[in-house]
Structure formats: C-alpha cells, structure tokens
Symmetry: C2
Subunit: 331 residues, 2 copies
C-alpha cells in the first residue's frame, strides 16, 4: 500500500478514477450569483460535503482499499485518523468486505465515533496523544496483519483525492484558479497534479488556517516545518503536511495563503446562509480567502473545493441556546 | 392579477414555466442512500432551498410579476408577507424594474427584513396583528396603485409554484408519491395540479404541522376551518389555507397528514446532518412524515419538496452556546 518513489502521476489519478467509479459520488459543482457578486469573481464550488460520508476522504480511502491484493484485503486495513479518513476507510473496507481497524483518541467527538462505528469498523481507544496513537496502531498492525492506510502520506490516497479536481475541470474546463484547503496535503497535492496536467495554465493555490500554517512555512523554506501547537477551528487541517504531498506541492502548487479563524467562521456562515449547504470549518477555508473580494481574484473563474460537511450541530461557532421562533399567528 | 373563476390548469402552469425560465433556478433533485436506508423508501428531494432567495416562493412571485401588464408593472406590486414571499416579490419586481411595497410586522426577524430590503423593496412597518397588516396594505395600494400579489391565494402564484413539480417529474418520471408541505396551500395546490395532470396515477399528499392543521381539518370537513392560534416551529406554514388553493386541493390531493414539531425538528436535523443541506423547519415537514419508516411508504419512490432553507442560524431549534472544537494537535 505504501508509496513508490516515483511520485504522483496523472495515470495514477486516472486509475483511481476508474477504481472508485460507482463507489463514491460524482459530487455536484454549485454556483451562487450572490457569492459571485460579493466576491467579484465567478465561483465554482466542488461540493465534497455531498460526498459519501460527507467529505472528500471517501475518494482516497476507496482507491487505497480497492487497490489492495486479495490477500491484503482479507487481513484488513488500519488507520489512526479520528476524523473523516477513519470513517471513509471504514466505509471502503465494508464495501470491499474487509475489516477496518481504527485507532481513536478517547476524546473523539460523538459524531465522529458514530461515523466510524456505523460502517462496522473495529475501534481501538487510546489516550489523545500522538505517541499513544502510533503505539496503538503498531499493536493493531502486529496483531492483525492489516495494511496501514495513512490519511494523506500515501500515493494511492493522494491519487484518489485528485479525482475531485478531475471532475471539477471536467464540468468547468475554463477554471483559472483552483483553491484547495491544505492540512496533511493529500487533497491539495492530488488536485494540483490533476489540475496542472489537465490545464497547465491553471493557478493552484492552497489555503491554510493561520493557526496551522505548516504548509505555507514549509513551502517558503523548502522543507517540512511542523507547527508545534496548531490552533485553529478547522479541525481537519491541524495535521502536519506529509512528505509525499509536500514533494508534489513544491512541484505543482503556485502559492499557499493563510486565513484567520475569524475569516473561516465568517466564510462558513456565509456558505450556510447563502448557499444553504452545511460546510465544516475546514471546508470553508478556501472560500475564506475570497472574503472582502481581494483584487488578485477579481474577475477570475475560481474553482473551490469544499472539502466536507461533518461537524457537530450542537456546537456551532456561533449561535445561542435560545430556541427558534416563538409562534406567531400570521405570516 | 387576481384569480379567474376557472381554477388552476396545466396550461397556466406551462405558461408559468416559460415565463419564469432563466429568472429562477431549475433546482437540483438530490438523493441520499443513507436516508433511503433509514426510511425504507427511495427518496427524491426537490431542493427549493437552492432556489433564488432560498425558497420556492421565487417561482410564484416571478410568474405573477412578469404576467403584469406594462401599466401595472409601472405602478408596482404589494404584499403583506414578512416571509419568503415578501423577499421573492421584491426580487421579482427588481428584475422587472418595478417597485415592490412590502408591509411587515415590526417584530419581523432580522434575516427576513434583510432579505426584503436587499432587493430594494419599500418596507412599511406595522404592528404585528392581521388587522394592522391588512389596513397598512390597503393604504399602500390606495397611495400607489400597486397590484396586490397574495402569497398563495392567487392562480398565477399557484401556477408558478406548480413548476417545481413539473421539474421534479421531468427529472424523475416514475415518482409514485409526492409529499408537499402545506401552509396557505399555494405550493401544494400548484404541485398537485401539475403532478396529477402529468402522472395521473401519482399519489399527492400534503404534510402539515399538527399545531397548524387547518388544511387537514378543512379537507375532512369540506370547508375551510381556520386554526385560531397556530402553534408550530414551521413558521412558513402557519397561514390558513386560501380559497383557490383549497378548491384545487379538494380536487387533486389524496390526503393531508400531520406531523409533530418534535418530528419536524428531528427531520430537519437529519437532513442537515446526512444531506448537508440547510433546510428551514417548514421545508423539513414532508420528510418528517417519513421518520420511523411508516409502512405505507415503504418501498415506494417518493418525491419530497424541500420548500426552503431560510432561517436564523443564531437561533436553531437545538444546540448550545458552547463554541465549536477546542483545538487538538493531531487528527
């Protein structure tokens, strides 16, 4: 399952596309005249919040699981992602008839536990530290012979994520700028390789929370610079960029820009209010770069990957405990 | 603008379709394998929350405004809907270059004020009673010569709303049951005429909040029976059914069933969580009828009109004031 030294190529992404066809959604590309007006650009939202499991992660996980040999598949797959990748891997394994072993910190939010449990994955709880997670995964791998599927530092996973950009450019060939969120870098690297090989003139820009800006720092310094204590509401983007994604990002990505948490929440709310779609904080990150209509993007045709829509509706980054609408007799 | 005695016909709906083409959205029909599993049925959601202005009301208002004579259009249009119809009428008038006069109770929620004001309508504030609204509208009509566009008791408005069902059946011809929310009855009557003339074997069922069940009572007793004090979270469905809609509903609708507010909130939350779409309480009402997989609907192909997605995100019918996600260093 682990990566080959060759790096991510278009053929790997095309293979991924064929492998996952019918197993994940071809998600819609939505537009909004209101947001076009507000930003002064023409926006095309690739809605991975409508993906199976509510996030783009279904693409990479499904590609990796269905690329396993029969013997590997029989032993199952493992990961230590508590987020969307864990659920996506559980689903992909269930589809293939394999077992999924998911290591989760014991403080994982209820909704995320449920998403993983729903597909019948075997969950191993561990203390919420990186060391504990890694050691728990090692134990699982030793006991089961399962294949580790890393959430992003894996060429097959990256290739799967890149299919989102293939679909977007298939639907809207003349996109000039592609904005992608960047956490571990699986989505951005996959989409960058897909976009730059399909449409070499496109600008590919990663967007990252200012409180977890390891990818921006790494791109500037030419080597991976982790952020010791990531601090952002965009919980899907706190990971440090992986080696394989970073290699592709250096080659293919034009820039990485950062946005504040305040902008992320404002962007998220605007997407909910105007587009009527549920987007998680991480998924609103690229749109946050367009708030206040920055001149660089004005008049451009911009593809935006909305990476997911999984969050706890009981704990929104706004709002109050006041229940909705006291009844009134007329409308 | 007011109705003719002939009732609503297919040709009126077809004319509406041509008249509003390009001025309102052809909204998507979404499906969800998860909700199909949960309900034991095959569901097709006609997503009017993705309509211009966030609700189906754009259809009827646009049809009525663009059917005005040039002279009428010059004098403008008026209404006393504080809800989605007011905003839809304001938008349609702006599109036609007409003025819109909207009478609103002075306790109208901020989001609804903003939606009307955004399109440049002239707002007249009045005390929040039916009598005050009606008298304020009379004054506006007398002063301006504007045409009153009723939110639902108007054949052109009803015809416009019916185009939603035409589109749904165009996309999914073999729907067996159509579920529509019912408040004033404009949407249900329009969709019922469209559906029954396009697909005579279809069952058309209105779904109504138990706390505002005037349509159900009226259908049973054969005459309009208002509910003195409607009490439901579904603020778009508190109106008493109109005479013209009621005439069509008696002719065309197979049944009207009621759902509790508890079911409406549960349905709404399930649509947000699973489908990642923002649906207002009224828009979740038809899906509420499918919770707990009632046997009558099992195995059926069911069209569901999600009527709108406009609500105050600061006051959701669940949730707490706790801000989202404390940061954690890994995922």
């Amino acid at each position: 399952m682990s990566s080959t030294p060759t790096g991510l190529t278009r053929p790997l992404i095309e293979e991924a596309r064929e492998r996952i066809a019918g197993k994940v959604n071809v998600t819609p590309v939505l537009t909004s005249s209101t947001l076009d007006e507000l930003t002064g650009a023409r926006l095309f939202f690739k809605c991975e919040n409508f993906q199976k499991g509510g996030a783009f992660k279904a693409r990479g996980a499904t590609n990796a699981v269905f690329a396993l040999s029969a013997t590997q598949a029989q032993r199952g797959v493992a990961t230590h992602s508590s987020g969307n990748h864990g659920a996506a891997l559980a689903r992909a394994a269930a589809l293939r008839g394999s077992r999924a072993y998911v290591v989760m910190p014991d403080n994982t939010a209820k909704a995320k536990r449920a998403a993983v449990a729903r597909y019948g994955a075997e969950i191993t709880w561990c203390p919420p530290t990186q060391a504990a997670r890694e050691s728990a995964v090692r134990e699982v791998l030793a006991a089961t012979g399962a294949t580790l599927i890393h959430p992003y530092d894996d060429l097959l996973v990256m290739a799967g994520q890149g299919t989102a950009a293939v679909e977007l450019l298939g639907a809207v060939p003349d996109v000039e700028v592609l904005l992608c969120p960047v956490g571990g870098g699986g989505l951005l690297s996959g989409c960058a390789v897909a976009a730059k090989t399909l449409a070499p003139a496109i600008r590919v820009i990663g967007v990252e929370p200012a409180g977890a800006d390891d990818a921006a720092r790494s791109l500037r310094s030419g080597r991976i610079v982790p952020v010791a204590h990531p601090n952002t509401i965009a919980d899907g983007l706190r990971a440090t960029i992986g080696e394989h994604p970073f290699a592709e990002i250096r080659r293919r990505v034009d820039d990485i820009i950062t946005v504040t948490d305040e902008a992320i929440v404002r962007a998220m709310r605007q997407l909910w209010e105007v587009m009527k779609i549920v987007v998680e904080p991480s998924g609103a990150v690229p749109y946050a770069a367009l708030l206040d209509a920055p001149p660089a993007f004005r008049g451009r045709r911009i593809g935006i990957v909305i990476s997911g829509g999984n969050l706890d509706l009981d704990h929104l980054p706004w709002g109050s405990a006041t229940p909705a609408g006291a009844p009134s007799p007329v409308r």
